[in-house]
Structure formats: structure tokens, C-alpha cells
């Protein structure tokens, strides 16, 4: 009985106490993906500190709504999301439990990075789950197109300036530098990829429509029979036939998928299996939005070099 009383009083005490958080000088930016965190860090410089819920090597469709994220979100000034329902499985309850109305949808502290971006794969006609785990608002892997990166950077700069007017000049300057570097880098990437324009590829999941569009690759099939459904024997056979028939030189696989089926297909067809990273942090070499494309473009060029 006494134990219970003590426990209850402790609970009460804990509930009422609660230390006040000291005012932070830096703007806290939390994003669901490391890509946005990286861009926000480039724009915000030392005026912001960033945190990403999903890690770059993690499947962004399956993130656990861990209470530690509630803690992060409770002290967030700006939340950047991919939108298009990519985060539907974990983010809404986290936002509700964060007790932070700054980051509710519609508030200045909530930024949907997809706004203004070139979004592909918006389903036309009826959408049902017979199609697998489809995204009815379009393909959410849009940040793999550098020009979308530019749109996202501008949106982040505008939002940071809105939330922190004193840093307006810094954000404008950093955005200009980011865009300048992006333009230069794009030329470099485009030049490297130019010889492979029109190359047919098979991807594991439908993560690459924007990347393929930018670098003029032709995605002819997916190892997954339907989004989110693991490879099946009959579909794998179809893909083998497709690869042989259309002389597809490469399968692109995200780091979080099992390589077993792609390797099996490679054994049968001689196709190159390329691990392509969809996000910053996918491998330690990818430290920011620029090295994401550096690494992916080099990996592709290396794989395709011998094949052409």
C-alpha cells in the first residue's frame, strides 16, 4: 500500500515539475530525411542545428514512431517533410504527441518539401491497393533530381528567413552559394552521364523516376512485382527475360533491399547490380546533397562503362 502511495506521489511530482528548457539560440530543424537536413544545414549554416528522423541507409517507408522522436519534435522550430504520404506510417502520431503546435501542418514551422517540385508517377485513374503500396499523390522519391533539390533549397531558405528574420542575409547568401555549386555540379554530372543517355535499367523499387528523367535513363522494369511486394519467382523470371530481351545493362538497388534476387538475376543474365543510394548518409562517403550525386553517378558510370 505504502509503495503505491509513494509511486503515485512521484508520478504527480514528476507531472507537475518539469524543468523549463533554456532558450536556444539556434533554430532547430528536424527533417524526416537526411537529404533535407543536409540542404537545411547548407542554407542555415551555423544559425541552425539539424536532425533527421530517418537515416539515409534506412528504408524511408518503414520508420518506427519511436518516443525518442517525440522528444526531438517537442523542441523543433522547423519540420521538413517529404510529403506525398511517404511519412504517413509514422509521422502523424509523432506530431500529435510532440505537444508542439509550431510543427502542425499549415503552421510556418511545417514545410512540405514536395511543393513546387517536379513530381512524377501521379497515378491516373483509379488507385487501389491491388497495385501494391502505391502513393496516390505521386512518386515521393523526387529529391533524386538535382533541379528539385534547387526548388527545395529555395523553399527552405524562404522558410528559414520567415522564422528567423535576423538571418535573412545569411540564408540568401548561402542559398546563392548552394545554387551556384549545384549548377556547376550538375554540368559535371550531366557530362559524365551523357554517354549513357537512353540506357535501359531495371530498378528494385520504383525509387528512381526523377533520377532517371534527369540523367535520361530508361527504367524498363522493377524487381518488385508491385511497390512494397517482395520479388516473386514468376516476376523474377519475367525480369530475367526482359533483361535478356532488351539487353538491359544494370539493375539499380537501394541499399536497404535484399541483394539476393538481384544477384540471382545477375547470375542468369550477366547484368550489373549497382547499389544506388537514394539519400544522403546512405553510405559514409555521402555526406551532403552534392556527394549523393557524386557517388551515384560514379557508381553508375563504373557499372555501365564496360557494358557500352
Amino acid at each position: 500500500m505504502k509503495f503505491s502511495r509513494i509511486l503515485l506521489s512521484l508520478l504527480l511530482l514528476g507531472g507537475l515539475a518539469g524543468a523549463a528548457r533554456p532558450a536556444e539560440a539556434k533554430l532547430r530543424v528536424v527533417s524526416t530525411l537526411q537529404d533535407f537536413a543536409s540542404i537545411a544545414a547548407a542554407i542555415g549554416g551555423d544559425r541552425v542545428e539539424t536532425f533527421s528522423l530517418a537515416k539515409g541507409y534506412q528504408d524511408p517507408h518503414f520508420v518506427d514512431a519511436k518516443p525518442s522522436f517525440v522528444l526531438q519534435l517537442s523542441r523543433t522550430d522547423l519540420l521538413i517533410v517529404a510529403g506525398l504520404e511517404l511519412e504517413i506510417g509514422y509521422l502523424p502520431p509523432l506530431i500529435d504527441q510532440s505537444r508542439n503546435d509550431k510543427i502542425h501542418a499549415g503552421s510556418p514551422g511545417y514545410l512540405d518539401a514536395s511543393a513546387g517540385c517536379d513530381i512524377l508517377g501521379r497515378p491516373t485513374g483509379q488507385v487501389t491497393r491491388a497495385m501494391g503500396d502505391v502513393h496516390p499523390y505521386g512518386n515521393p522519391h523526387y529529391w533524386t533530381e538535382p533541379e528539385n533539390g534547387r526548388v527545395i533549397a529555395r523553399a527552405i531558405a524562404a522558410r528559414l528567413s520567415q522564422l528567423d528574420a535576423a538571418g535573412r542575409d545569411t540564408y540568401a547568401k548561402n542559398l546563392a552559394a548552394f545554387e551556384q555549386k549545384l549548377t556547376a555540379k550538375e554540368k559535371e554530372w550531366d557530362a559524365k552521364m551523357a554517354p549513357y543517355a537512353g540506357t535501359k535499367v531495371v530498378t528494385f523499387h520504383d525509387s528512381w523516376p526523377n533520377f532517371a528523367k534527369h540523367f535520361k535513363l530508361q527504367v524498363v522494369g522493377h524487381v518488385e512485382p508491385k511497390p512494397g511486394i517482395p520479388p516473386s519467382p514468376t516476376h523474377t523470371l519475367d525480369i530475367i527475360n526482359l533483361i535478356t530481351g532488351q539487353k538491359v545493362p544494370a539493375i539499380l538497388v537501394e541499399p536497404y533491399f535484399d541483394l539476393k534476387t538481384p544477384k540471382f538475376i545477375a547470375e542468369k543474365t550477366g547484368v550489373a547490380v549497382v547499389t544506388l543510394y537514394p539519400s544522403v548518409g546512405g553510405t559514409p562517403a555521402i555526406t551532403d546533397y552534392f556527394s549523393l550525386f557524386d557517388v551515384d553517378v560514379d557508381a553508375l558510370v563504373n557499372a555501365l562503362k564496360g557494358k557500352k
Binding site: 509503495f3 503515485l8 518516443p67 522528444l71 500529435d96
Partner: protein, 420 residues
């Protein structure tokens, strides 16, 4: 309708205008030309002239009318798709924009084997959970979960959550699963088994668990080193199924819960909770039942999911202290359970459970179970549980039941994500 009548009216006024013009036109030229035609046969001349004028004006009016009707047709043709789009996509949809997200989860259970103690039917659509969830206004959201069982419909949960309160408070008002222990907070369809463990059945009022009607207040308690901690206080009315019975309105039930969650590594985390609850029971006036719980969940799930391996270990310990005439029985119950992910869609699990009876701690039930779960997709789940339970009967007798439970769960619609 109005779009049809308007051009008609306009045409009518146009016609009146044209007619007055015609009359005016008739008079003026007639007066001007009266002199020149005076020496000819004036009547014939005038008649010809009138005929001539009549003809030209008729032609002009016809041309004008044609132009008008052409324009009208053009305008209507252009407007038609817009009107259609706005009635199909805009007007109709604007009323559905704010409809709550709806989902239904079907829970089918087939049972084989033999049990005299718990007589589950051979097949049952045990529970269909209809979820209706939406944001109420800038301050609150609402969640309703209606449970359609074989006996009828029940509001399993229905509450408003106030998400924008000061002082880091999160307040829920309505009917909700109480945060007592861990299992009780979860809906049947997210449990790692097709059945509730014995400690919930014996000490928390039956399979349903403890669902309270009242108010819940939760607050984050800052701890160092990014440790999540949350204290919840709940006050409910004193009646709750077989668990609590209130004789009068002021007999209330209380629940306090303290949860600590910590990421041990990137892929491993530990979730623990302490709960204390009390409420009235009907064994004698003023009698209370006091409950305590400790729960712990250890999860290991590498973020690099290519291997598709994960492991969850969970356990729960309940203590029930029930005031009743002549005795103050203290009963204990709990379970330990583990799940291991073999492949992307396959899980194996095991559970050991045991629990005394709240009213008679001399009776102790135990059970072991093995589980295999397959997820065809995120939205359906097939599960088999082979369980053996040893029920304690009065007079030191026992009843052993070995059963196979086969469960199919399937979800349609937009079911909101569940709390971790």
C-alpha cells in the same frame, strides 16, 4: 434553370430594341424622303420604301440574333466542362475534404482443439474495427474506434486529444484504453498474438481489458541524455466492465503511468513503464481494488533492413490487491514473450504466461504458446498460434486445453499509424 431563362429574356429585350429602332428608322427616312417621292405615286413609293426598309432591318435583326445565339452557344460550350469539373471535382469534393480518415480492420479467428474453460467458436469474425479519425480544429483531433463483434457494436474508443496545450500537456477526453501496463494500451489487431494474455484476462476484467471513460493528462518529463519520459494521470468513472463497479457517482477509478524510453543504440531500444491504478469493487461498500504493473519491451531492429531481421522481447507483471469481505487477496500475473523476424514477411514467436485470479489467488492459470506470422503485405496478416493453457479449477483440479488459433487480419482504408 436560371442559365436557361436569361438568354431568353435578353433576346426579348433585344427584339424590343430592334423594333423601336425600326419604328424610329421608319419615321425619320420617311420624313426626309417625303419631298423627293412626292411627285411620284406617293403611296406606292412609300410602300416600296417601307418594304425595302422592313427587309433590310429584318436581315440585320436576323444577323444580330444569329450572332448572339452563336456567341451564347460558344459561351455555353466553354463553360460546360468547367461547370462539370466544379460540380464533380470541386463542389462535391469540398464537402468530403473534411471527412475523417476511415478504415476497417477485419479480424477473423478460427479455433481448433479442445477447451472446456474458454469455449471459443470454431470460426468467428471476432472483431471488425471501424476507425474514424480526423483533426477537429487547430486545438484538437478526434479518434473513434467502433468495434463490431458478434454481439453488436461497441465504442471501443472515442476521444478527443488536445494537442496544442501549454506546459507540454497532452489531454485526452472520452472513452479510451487506459495506459495500464503495455498490452492494455494496444488494440487487439496490433498485439503480437491473436489472444490477450492471462494477466489481462484474469486481473484486468477479461479479454477486453480496461477501457475507461474520463480524462487523461500526459506530460513529458525532461530527463538528461535524450531519454524520453512521460507521466500520465487518468481519472475515469468508477464502472468498467468486470474490473471496477461503482455504487455511487463519486466512486472513481484512477490510473497513473510513468514511461521511460531510451535508444540504447541506433537499432536497440528499451521501453519501460510503471503503472498504478485503483477503483471501486462491489464486494462490499467502499471496497477498492488496487493494481500495479511493470512492463518492459526491448526491441532490436537494424535500420539497414536488407537483412530483414529483428527481435522484440516483452514482458509484463501485474499485481492486484482486491479488498473483499474477510480477505484482502493479492494476486500476481504476467507474461514474457519474444518475436523474431526471419524474413521480410515472416515472424516466429513464443509466449509464456501465468496469472492468479483476482478474487482467489489460490487459482493459478498458466500457458505456453508458439506463433508463426506471415504478412502478405502491410495490409494483411496471417497468424497461427498453438497454445496450451492449464486452467486451475477449485478443489485443486486442473483443466488442460490445447488449441490452435488461426487468425486472418486485413485492413482497408486509411488507418492511422499506431503509437509505438
Amino acid at each position: 434553370m436560371s442559365t436557361f431563362s436569361r438568354p431568353g429574356v435578353r433576346r426579348l429585350t433585344l427584339r424590343a430594341l430592334a423594333l423601336s429602332c425600326l419604328l424610329l428608322g421608319l419615321l425619320i427616312p420617311a420624313a426626309a424622303q417625303a419631298q423627293t417621292t412626292a411627285d411620284q405615286d406617293p403611296v406606292t413609293a412609300l410602300r416600296t420604301e417601307i418594304e425595302e426598309l422592313k427587309r433590310t432591318y429584318q436581315e440585320r435583326i436576323e444577323a444580330l440574333e444569329k450572332r448572339l445565339s452563336d456567341l451564347e452557344a460558344e459561351r455555353q460550350a466553354a463553360a460546360a466542362p468547367v461547370a462539370q469539373a466544379s460540380s464533380g471535382g470541386g463542389d462535391a469534393q469540398s464537402s468530403t475534404y473534411f471527412n475523417p480518415a476511415m478504415s476497417v480492420i477485419g479480424n477473423f479467428l478460427a479455433v481448433g482443439g479442445h477447451s472446456r474453460k474458454e469455449n471459443l467458436p470454431s470460426a468467428a469474425l471476432r472483431e471488425s474495427e471501424l476507425g474514424l479519425q480526423a483533426i477537429v480544429d487547430p486545438y484538437a483531433r478526434a479518434d473513434f474506434f467502433l468495434s463490431f463483434g458478434e454481439e453488436g457494436v461497441d465504442v471501443e474508443e472515442g476521444f478527443a486529444t488536445f494537442t496544442s496545450l501549454p506546459a507540454g500537456l497532452l489531454v485526452k477526453v472520452g472513452k479510451m484504453r487506459t495506459v495500464f501496463g503495455k498490452t492494455n494500451t494496444l488494440h487487439l489487431h496490433v498485439l503480437p498474438w491473436p489472444d490477450e494474455p492471462l494477466n489481462v484476462v484474469n486481473l484486468l476484467g477479461g479479454e477486453e481489458g480496461w477501457i475507461g471513460t474520463g480524462v487523461s493528462v500526459a506530460r513529458l518529463i525532461p530527463l538528461p541524455a535524450d531519454t524520453f519520459s512521460e507521466a500520465t494521470l487518468q481519472v475515469f468513472r468508477g464502472d468498467s466492465g468486470d474490473l471496477f463497479q461503482a455504487a455511487k457517482r463519486s466512486d472513481l477509478a484512477y490510473n497513473g503511468h510513468y514511461r521511460i524510453f531510451r535508444d540504447l543504440t541506433e537499432s536497440t531500444n528499451l521501453d519501460t513503464g510503471l503503472s498504478y491504478a485503483e477503483g471501486p469493487n462491489d464486494s462490499q461498500p467502499g471496497a477498492r481494488t488496487r493494481l500495479q504493473a511493470f512492463d518492459a519491451t526491448l526491441r532490436w531492429k537494424p535500420l539497414r533492413t536488407a537483412s530483414y531481421r529483428s527481435f522484440t522481447f516483452r514482458g509484463e507483471l501485474f499485481r492486484s490487491d482486491r479488498e473483499q469481505p474477510g480477505a484482502d487477496p493479492v494476486a500476481w500475473g504476467g507474461y514474457v514473450s519474444g518475436d523474431y523476424q526471419l524474413a521480410k514477411r515472416w515472424f516466429v514467436g513464443a509466449r509464456y504466461e501465468q496469472s492468479e485470479h483476482a478474487e482467489d489467488p489460490g487459482l493459478k492459470d498458466t500457458g505456453v504458446a508458439g506463433l508463426l506470422t506471415f504478412w502478405p503485405s502491410e495490409f494483411s496478416q496471417l497468424r497461427g498460434e498453438l497454445r496450451q493453457r492449464r486452467y486451475s479449477l477449485r478443489d485443486a483440479a486442473h483443466e488442460t486445453a490445447t488449441e490452435l488459433l488461426l487468425q486472418l487480419q486485413f485492413a482497408i482504408g486509411a488507418h492511422g499509424a499506431h503509437p509505438f
